[in-house]
């Protein structure tokens, strides 16, 4: 359909998009899980209520979530330069993507953990379980299917953000769509990149759903 050069570029674009999405999600969860756990347990109905901690985290997460991604991308350029050495390219994009993903993921983790039946938590407390035991052996285990669904949603959202990063030279399929489709009026390339993005989201979604339903023992 396209020249070999364009085909190679599209293939590289898929690779870069996946690279940014997967790594950002991974780093996002590295910080988002502890944050989500703290939000859950420090809440007034949590297992270790702590009003001050909860309010602080709650506000930080809300601020993080309300900054539009494009603004964040620009605001974070100095940090990105410091960490990666450059602010252009797919590796550099991982920094703002991760920062944007953390508060979003923290909320998803929090909402999954809140779904855990309070009765089961009470049962664990009645057995003399410590807070750590309740977190790792009750909350995270009972919420695992919901957490996996959350990962799927996070991947889809971050993939969308990564395409946005293309507008400022972030690499990946979004970058191609902007440069060729928009600046050079090559509509065909733009349409193909969009189709590729859709297919990627579909595949990630499918994998997530299959995994979560395989792991769910409630039925």
């Amino acid at each position: 359909m396209f020249s070999p050069e364009v085909n190679a570029m599209l293939l590289r674009g898929i690779g870069e998009t996946l690279y940014m999405t997967l790594l950002s999600t991974l780093f996002g969860y590295l910080f988002g899980i502890p944050l989500g756990i703290l939000l859950t347990i420090s809440d007034k109905n949590g297992i270790k209520p702590n009003r001050v901690l909860f309010r602080i985290l709650d506000i930080i997460v809300n601020i993080g979530r309300s900054i539009p991604f494009l603004i964040l991308l620009i605001l974070l350029i100095p940090l990105t330069r410091m960490l990666v050495g450059t602010s252009i390219g797919s590796t550099a994009t991982i920094v703002p993507l991760t920062v944007a993903a953390i508060p979003f993921i923290a909320r998803m983790v929090e909402s999954s953990l809140r779904e855990v039946d309070p009765g089961v938590i009470e049962a664990a407390r009645s057995m003399g379980a410590k807070t750590g035991t309740i977190i790792f052996r009750v909350l995270l285990v009972e919420a695992r299917t919901s957490l996996i669904v959350g990962v799927t949603i996070a991947l889809g959202t971050i993939l969308g953000y990564s395409a946005m990063a293309g507008t400022v030279g972030g690499g990946g399929l979004g970058d191609i769509a902007i440069r060729y489709g928009y600046y050079r009026y090559e509509t065909r390339i733009m349409i193909v990149t969009v189709i590729l993005l859709v297919i990627l989201v579909q595949i990630l979604q499918l994998i997530g759903m299959v995994m979560s339903s395989k792991l769910d023992k409630r039925k």
Partner: protein, 341 residues
């Protein structure tokens, strides 16, 4: 010596509107080996009270002594330790839904720091006690309510507790399953000498297995004592009310009752006009045959008094026919009744 001692315990919850006194100056003593029932309508405070016994709820005032230790004197770590000797089961079983049966039973053992292998062996013993050894690999979602509660009981026994708290443990179960769970609890009480505290709103539960009972209403204990005493001489309005509700709920199958159930029974229904005539007395005089009155009840059905009576008939077929004919001639509905009345 009392294994649980509750002294002047009060609990106040601060809600948006006004503070609520869930418990008001509760005093209670449970002796080792007791099966102690705490009964009351919903909202009486019994669930709060039972949670004060392991400090899942911290009382606003008053002392709780368990196994000779005042729970207030314990550090956080000691309290967690102590909770291992006070097991608890719940109305909705509260099993880990993503873990299979054996892992659920292993859970408290792993908390205690037992190795995986050691925990598995003990868990299998416990599952055998509750009769579920063959379901070790099943997940809770695949079990019936009664089976789930059995798993919960096995899990509760895992830490070798001295006390078992049951919070409405049979309320979500049908009467037959409920009876089998109560039987299991009684067996546990006798076999392992575990003291049991049962929270319930059903007098039938108290009647079936408790030796002592406290009646709660609106955060207070209205009456307490041995089950025998309270059943024969209820002193308070609350006790009488609970006993009355229980009257409808069937009876235990003692030897005597089984004998009565074996005989041929009929149900007669009479409406207000026929109830003025002393039918049964006349029938006995006329036919010279005695009957057993197993149950009699009058209900208000759509404004008219409908009476229902269940009679046990004499053994010989001739007398039976005579009686049935007599009653039918008087215009009463006669209907054969089988099994439990």
């Amino acid at each position: 010596m009392a294994i649980i001692e509750v002294k002047h315990v009060s609990k106040r919850f601060f809600t948006k509107d006004a503070p609520v006194d869930a418990l008001k100056d509760i005093n209670l003593q449970v002796e080792a080996g007791d099966i102690y029932g705490i009964i009351g309508m919903s909202g009486a405070g019994k669930s709060t009270l039972v949670r004060c016994l392991n400090f899942l709820e911290i009382p606003t005032e008053g002392d709780v002594k368990v196994n000779g230790k005042n729970l207030w004197d314990l550090s956080e770590r000691e309290l967690l330790q102590e909770r291992q000797s006070i097991a608890m089961i719940f109305q909705h079983f509260n099993l880990l839904m993503q873990k299979n049966v054996i892992d659920n039973v292993c859970f408290p053992l792993r908390i205690q720091g037992k190795s995986k292998a050691e925990a598995k062996i003990r868990a299998m013993e416990l599952l055998a006690i509750v009769g579920l050894a063959d379901r070790a690999k099943s997940y809770p979602a695949q079990l019936s309510g009664g089976q789930k509660q059995r798993v919960a009981i096995a899990r509760a026994l895992a830490s070798n507790p001295k006390i078992l708290l049951c919070d409405e443990a049979t309320s979500a179960l049908d009467p037959q399953t409920s009876a089998s769970i109560l039987k299991l609890l009684k067996q546990i009480n006798q076999q392992f000498g575990i003291t049991i505290v049962i929270i319930t709103h059903q007098m039938s539960v108290v009647r079936q297995i408790c030796n002592k009972v406290a009646i709660m209403s609106l955060g207070e204990i209205k009456e307490k004592g041995t089950v025998n005493d309270i059943f024969s001489h209820p002193k308070t309005e609350e006790a009488r009310e609970l006993l009355l509700r229980d009257a409808d709920s069937g009876y235990e199958e003692t030897e005597q009752i089984r004998e009565l159930l074996a005989e041929r029974k009929i149900r007669i229904v009479y409406s207000s006009n026929s109830s003025y005539e002393p039918v049964i007395a006349n029938m006995v005089l006329m036919t010279g045959k005695a009957v057993n009155i197993l149950k009699a009840d009058t209900k208000n059905v759509g404004g008219t008094a409908k009476g229902e009576m269940i009679l046990g008939l004499p053994e010989d077929a001739e007398s039976q026919e005579l009686i049935i004919k007599y009653l039918k001639d008087r215009g009463l509905d006669v209907e054969e009744v089988k099994g439990n009345v």
